[in-house]
């Protein structure tokens, strides 16, 4: 075990996974909320765009999206974020992760909306609230609470899915494991246990926390 730590900077790989997860989670939450609002809005074009977005990105493998994010935007469309390629790859990895998971965040919020009884929206409308007011004051606050469990699941999936960005050379946990498999195959079992342990420690609390939060914040009906 100690041999792995001597040969590889294990902590930095794990830290990268944590950074990717945190930043992509924030970004995907923002994009996903916007998409959910678009899908619920009275404007047909926006609804269509929201629906198309979800259909497109939810059905494409993440590997393809992450690679397409860096290669399509940074290299083909020539829009770079940083001149340092590793930083650039890091940001486009986050962008790819965010774009993909936003489709699931959008559906999570919509499923949260689904938990709200019809009467709530009808009551809001009947006292004269507009669509924006209904959404902001009545629907979304309840929907977000109802969406905690699916959002938590999306977060856990996101944390695990960050492993896919090794395809564009970001030095995270999966890059580490495949490096071990290649350079120090005798250590593969140890490295796997290490990485698996890290992910258990990383994601199980997420599940517990969202489970607790969804019970605590559940809208009592």
């Amino acid at each position: 075990m100690s041999q792995i730590f001597e040969q590889f900077d294990v902590i930095s790989f794990f830290w990268m996974t944590i950074k990717l997860t945190a930043l992509a989670a924030v970004a995907s939450f923002i994009i996903g909320t916007v998409m959910a609002i678009m899908r619920l809005s009275p404007v047909p074009v926006l609804r269509f765009v929201g629906t198309a977005y979800v259909t497109l990105f939810r059905n494409t493998p993440l590997t393809l999206i992450v690679f397409g994010s860096l290669f399509g935007i940074s290299i083909t469309l020539q829009f770079s974020i940083s001149d340092t390629l590793s930083t650039n790859a890091f940001f486009f990895a986050i962008f790819g992760l965010a774009v993909y998971h936003a489709a699931f965040v959008c559906e999570a919020i919509r499923s949260g909306v689904n938990t709200i009884p019809l009467g709530q929206a009808e009551a809001a409308r009947s006292i004269g609230l507009t669509f924006t007011q209904t959404l902001r004051e009545v629907i979304l606050p309840q929907a977000m609470r109802g969406a905690i469990t699916p959002l938590g699941n999306t977060l856990i999936a996101l944390a695990k899915n960050t492993t896919v960005v090794m395809t564009i050379g970001v030095l995270e946990s999966a890059y580490f494991l495949s490096k071990v498999s290649e350079d120090a195959s005798s250590q593969l079992n140890n490295a796997f246990l290490l990485v698996a342990g890290f992910f258990v420690l990383f994601t199980v609390p997420m599940g517990l926390a969202t489970g607790y939060a969804s019970r605590k914040l559940a809208v009592k009906r």
């Binding site: 083909t76 020539q78 001149d83 390629l85 050379g169």
Partner: protein, 271 residues
């Protein structure tokens, strides 16, 4: 009754699935009637899948050696960089001829026959690029493949090098053609292969004098001296008959500057 039938259905499906998984793996052992050789499937000039066939220097070497040494008909298997040692160790292939550099680290896991070519590390840059060597590389954007030796070596020479890693060289070549990457690095043979491709012809040039030699060996199971000797005899024949030179010229192109001092290389003794 209903339930029993449903359960039987599930069981039946899984049996089908298992047999699907099991079949298809029967005729993969090399032996008398054929030999599996690991090559690259996506390396123009060396080993490239072209339609239903394969083309390149490595392919020619494989075919010549297999025929001459009486190993039988060659079946090509893909051998990506990361997996070459494991392919040999597992017995999935008998030989790996896939731009496989002989190194001490690798010698601990596999044995090498040959070498059959001595390449050197180089850079591929745009035709009008000012990059002419390692020194002019600092601050430039460099592309390579994760797990390749060339990137590791350059990192040591140019500490602050701006590196992007992809999983295949063709992705690097594609990035280079857009101008978003300044250079890509690996063996001059591989780079020449890309410079030779139709859509890149005349757009790139190879800059030499970047790094050390890459000695291409033929990877075989560790300690298989008998096979090593057979392969070496055939390689010598390939060079003597002129087939070797023909293949080099055909696949690496007229512009390729062959290091004639070192090529064709003298074979190492098998151990």
């Amino acid at each position: 009754m209903q339930k029993t039938r449903r359960m039987a259905g599930v069981a039946g499906l899984s049996v089908v699935a298992l047999s699907l998984a099991a079949c298809g793996g029967s005729e993969n052992e090399g032996g008398e009637d054929g030999v599996n050789v690991g090559i690259k499937f996506d390396q123009p000039g060396l080993g490239q899948k072209v339609g239903s066939g394969y083309e390149g220097l490595d392919v020619d070497v494989a075919n010549y050696v297999a025929k001459d040494a009486g190993l039988g008909k060659v079946t090509f298997k893909e051998a990506p960089s990361k997996q070459r040692e494991q392919l040999i160790k597992s017995g999935q292939v008998k030989m790996v001829i896939a731009t496989y550099s002989v190194t001490d680290e690798r010698k601990q896991e596999v044995s090498f026959a040959g070498p059959y070519f001595i390449a050197e590390q180089a850079l591929l840059v745009a035709k009008d690029s000012k990059i002419n060597g390692v020194k002019s590389l600092s601050g430039k954007k460099l592309c390579s493949v994760s797990g390749s030796t060339s990137a590791t070596k350059l990192k040591e020479q140019v500490p602050g090098v701006n590196l992007q890693e992809f999983d295949t060289y063709s992705k690097c070549a594609s990035a280079l053609s857009t101008g978003q990457i300044d250079a890509m690095t690996t063996d001059d043979t591989i780079l020449s292969g890309y410079a030779q491709q139709d859509s890149y012809k005349g757009k790139f040039k190879v800059v030499k004098g970047v790094g050390g030699d890459e000695i291409y060996g033929i990877g075989i199971k560790k300690g298989d001296t008998a096979l090593c000797k057979k392969v070496n005899t055939s390689l010598q024949k390939m060079v003597d008959s002129g087939e070797w030179k023909k293949s080099v010229e055909k696949h690496l192109g007229a512009e390729y500057q062959l290091n004639a001092e070192k090529n064709p290389p003298k074979q190492e003794t098998c151990s």
